[in-house]
């Protein structure tokens, strides 16, 4: 379903996307790309958000990514075990190249349909492949009932799907704005290559590299010298989640009450209307006041929707904290491996010393037993063992060196990533709070307007 540009001389983007390298030396010049992009530029759709500055050199500078529509689909061939058709929602992912040289992306405008599970696949791949990156979170798979009073969980509810769409778009944009992630070929493929993208992801073999849950837990428990910084980060992540949850919980209850109050005032409107019928001088004033009561009852609905959007943005950081935790867990695994390697080296070295007779064996050892039963070892036997051990020791040293390098590199990258994340978090949260304040100001002004009008009506009674 991707729209291929009309220009026959444009390169097919298939070949370019699979490669991770930026293909600036492609068959077309930068100038050509620009001309082609300009020619094929579609008129801007009304609901595309305008993009902001992002990290220099990231994809998002040059490309607009949007998730614009959703549709319900029925799984054609595959049916569930109960014989029912598998129904799911797909989202339209549209990409538009703003400027030339979009880092290996084709020019012009492409769009294809993706379902939620494909987003999940993309994210899992990114998490495993770039384990030091705090990968942006996806919106919830199902509606959580944490604080919302809903009788049924409906994954096909229009509001939920819309909010998911916004979340998915945010996810793609954040990935596109990330210096490292935006260059990934699988990500590009997600955006533009419909056919056999899934196969390409599996072909990377990322699933094999994934640390199992057991492995993470094990590392976490057995760590001898946990890194202070990452311990603190883990704690911070948990606290952040707890704090945001608390805020959102009270907000939801508060807004619930507010909603109820506005609706009950609608009853006043009805009573005023009936009452105005029996009054002489007071009739007009009552009647007009009744209309304002109705207005007061009605405008709360829009406000609720707007506030829900802001709440979703806050909620995203709960999931961001999970991503932070998973980077910490990776560090623990690496460090555990490092400690294990060190231990192994120490053990082998000790063994060698014991064989060479330099280190005393333990009081009760197999070696001691054997020498008592079979007589002392011959020198050749000892030499053979020493040789084996020395080889092993060298292997261990290599392994240790590698693990150390890997761990140090990881920590260095991770800490840089954490700093980036912190700045992003501060900026984002401030923006969220400003929007929240703006909304509250709006609702206060509205309240003042309606009640002032009502007061005028009452004074005319």
């Amino acid at each position: 379903m991707a729209d291929v540009t009309g220009d026959p001389s444009a390169p097919s983007y298939d070949s370019e996307l699979l490669s991770d390298q930026q293909d600036t030396s492609g068959p077309t010049s930068i100038g050509d790309l620009a001309r082609i992009a300009a020619k094929n530029r579609k008129p801007k759709l009304p609901h595309w958000t305008s993009l902001i500055d992002c990290q220099d050199g990231t994809l998002l500078e040059q490309v607009e990514i949007c998730v614009t529509e959703q549709e319900k689909r029925t799984g054609a061939a595959r049916t569930t075990s109960m014989g029912m058709k598998d129904v799911y929602t797909v989202y339209l992912v549209e990409t538009r190249v703003k400027e030339s040289g979009g880092q290996g992306l084709g020019e012009g405008h492409t769009s294809l349909w993706r379902r939620y599970s494909e987003f999940e696949l993309l994210r899992n791949y990114l998490v495993v492949t770039y384990s030091y990156v705090i990968v942006p979170p996806l919106p919830e798979k199902r509606m959580t009932l944490m604080w919302q009073q809903m009788s049924t969980v409906d994954n096909f509810d229009a509001d939920f799907i819309e909010r998911r769409r916004v979340g998915l778009e945010g996810f793609l944009q954040r990935v596109g704005a990330h210096q490292t992630l935006c260059e990934d070929g699988i990500f590009h493929g997600f955006l533009q290559k419909e056919d056999s993208w899934k196969e390409a992801v599996h072909a990377t073999g990322f699933q094999a590299k994934q640390d199992s849950r057991l492995k993470s837990l094990n590392a976490s428990f057995r760590l001898k010298k946990p890194d202070r910084k990452f311990e603190d980060l883990k704690n911070y992540a948990s606290e952040l989640q707890g704090n945001i949850t608390a805020v959102l919980k009270v907000r939801a209850k508060l807004v619930d009450r507010l909603y109820g109050i506005h609706k009950i005032h609608g009853n006043y409107g009805r009573v005023f209307s009936e009452w105005s019928g029996i009054e002489q001088e007071m009739g007009d004033g009552l009647q007009s006041a009744g209309h304002f009561m109705d207005a007061y009852k009605d405008y709360i609905d829009d406000y609720m929707n707007e506030e829900e959007q802001i709440a979703d943005q806050l909620k995203e950081y709960i999931y961001f904290a999970d991503a932070l935790k998973s980077v910490c867990r990776k560090q623990e695994v690496l460090q555990y491996e490092l400690e294990k390697a060190g231990d192994l080296l120490a053990a082998k070295t000790l063994q060698k010393e014991q064989v060479m007779g330099n280190a005393p064996s333990r009081s009760f050892s197999l070696r001691g037993m054997r020498s008592k039963i079979f007589g002392p070892e011959s020198q050749e036997s000892k030499d053979a063992q020493t040789k084996v051990l020395e080889e092993q020791i060298e292997e261990c040293e290599q392994h240790l060196k590698q693990a150390t390098q890997e761990t140090e590199a990881f920590i260095e990258s991770a800490l840089v990533e954490v700093e980036r994340f912190k700045k992003q978090r501060t900026t984002d949260l401030k923006e969220i709070f400003i929007n929240y304040a703006i909304l509250q100001i709006k609702i206060s002004k509205r309240g003042i307007a309606v009640w002032t009008n009502m007061k005028d009506c009452f004074q005319k009674m």
Partner: protein
């Protein structure tokens, strides 16, 4: 006691006892009461409120209404009295007056709620044709009867009651009112024992329920009044119910706001760069919480009691309308009697004339009182709802100020931080993002509302 009363020109229901054979002699009472009544009745023929000319005078007084008040009554300073057998609350009733009927210019007495009930009962009996304002209820669904808040509310309502009575050009001259305002505690007790209690109350309910059924030609004026007051009572009752619901929700809302601020502050404790932001948000929400709580209190103290009072007032009006109906019925029955019993004509004629006068007085008083009631109602309802609206506006203004204050802080903090990673949040709706845009959209909607 009787000597004082003899000086007063008063209208009473004492006509029941001797002159009127049609009436059930229910108000026999004790000898003491008959004495009192006889004394009161003696100058009755020259009383200012009996007979046609005085009725017109009474209603004319109402129409002129020069608002020269010469009787001021306040109810305040409630106190709890604890005895071994009993615990009750008394209120100070303070009177200032220049009327010659009163010996002193000022009186200060202590009265219980029971005493007010007695006074009202007496007024109902002796000022049959006038609307007597309501008293606050004995019990309250919402509030604990023993709480201080309940007593404060009740005191305010009792004060309102006395004020309304003092402003009524006829009822304010009632003898029982004077007793209530001036008598010492023991004097009042003996008065209360002397006056007929439960018996006459039962009698009056029987009277008033049968009248509606037997009425033949009620003038459309009074039918309209009855219909009006029935509908009004319904509406007022709805207003009362709705406002109680709103009050409950408002109280919960205030509680939620109170717990909202702390969640932000708590969050601020585990942040470094965002600590100030979160702290100022917490403060802002605390201000909003206070604002909501103040408004809720104001509704509870001012609006709700006013609505309740007018609910009860409607009942009082209904009662008076029924009494008027009854008086008319009496008159009509007597007219029938007249046509039937020709030989007793002379006596019956006197009776008819008497009742005809009474009926006219009743009608005139009813009309006059209704007019003044409507005037008061208009003023009071206007005040009550305007106060509610003003309270809401004030509350919203306070919240607005708090949020505008905090947004300046948030924006200035944002300007200071150097942004490497910029926010991806730009809401796509212009109405939310820019306050300026929001205003214009708001103004647009305002124009819609103003029609």
């Amino acid at each position: 006691m009787s000597a004082n009363m003899a000086d007063e020109t008063q209208k009473t229901d004492s006509r029941d006892v001797e002159e009127d054979p049609l009436q059930n002699p229910l108000s026999s009472g004790t000898d003491d009461e008959e004495d009192i009544i006889a004394v009161i009745r003696a100058p009755a023929k020259v009383s200012s409120t009996e007979g046609r000319p005085s009725a017109i005078m009474g209603s004319m007084k109402l129409e002129e209404e020069p608002d020269v008040k010469d009787l001021f009554i306040t109810v305040d300073d409630f106190q709890k009295h604890v005895f071994t057998i009993d615990t009750y609350i008394t209120y100070r009733v303070f009177t200032r007056t220049t009327r010659s009927a009163f010996d002193e210019p000022e009186y200060s007495v202590r009265r219980r709620y029971q005493d007010f009930l007695w006074l009202r009962q007496k007024l109902l009996e002796t000022e049959e044709t006038h609307i007597i304002p309501p008293l606050p209820e004995k019990h309250s669904m919402r509030m604990d009867r023993l709480s201080k808040d309940f007593t404060i509310t009740r005191q305010a309502a009792l004060h309102k009651f006395m004020q309304r009575i003092s402003e009524h050009p006829v009822v304010s001259f009632n003898e029982y009112l004077k007793v209530f305002l001036t008598a010492k505690a023991w004097e009042l007790t003996s008065h209360r024992k002397a006056s007929s209690g439960i018996v006459s109350r039962i009698g009056s309910t029987i009277k008033t329920t049968t009248s509606a059924l037997m009425l033949k030609n009620r003038s459309p004026e009074f039918t309209m009044m009855t219909e009006y007051i029935n509908t009004f009572a319904e509406k007022m009752s709805s207003v009362d119910r709705i406002s109680q619901r709103i009050l409950k929700e408002q109280m919960d809302l205030g509680a939620e706001y109170e717990s909202y601020g702390p969640t932000y502050r708590l969050w601020g404790n585990s942040e470094v760069e965002l600590a100030d932001t979160l702290g100022s948000l917490g403060d802002c929400l605390d201000k909003c919480a206070k604002s909501v709580k103040d408004m809720t209190l104001s509704i509870e103290t001012n609006f709700l009691p006013a609505a309740k009072e007018y609910m009860l007032y409607s009942d009082a009006v209904k009662g008076t309308l029924r009494k008027r109906d009854y008086i008319q019925m009496e008159y009509e029955l007597a007219c029938e009697e007249l046509t039937r019993k020709k030989n007793e004509r002379e006596q019956l004629q006197k009776q008819v004339d008497f009742l005809s006068d009474k009926s006219e007085v009743a009608n005139a008083d009813m009309k006059a009182d209704m007019e003044r009631w409507h005037r008061n109602k208009r003023k009071d309802v206007k005040e009550m709802f305007t106060g509610l609206a003003a309270g809401q506006v004030e509350s919203y203004k306070q919240c607005l100020d708090a949020w505008e204050e905090v947004i300046e802080v948030l924006k200035s903090e944002k300007r200071h931080s150097d942004d490497v990673g910029n926010s991806l949040f730009q809401t796509s709706e212009p109405s939310v993002h820019a306050a300026g845009g929001g205003d214009s959209q708001l103004n647009g909607r305002e124009e819609d509302e103003k029609e």
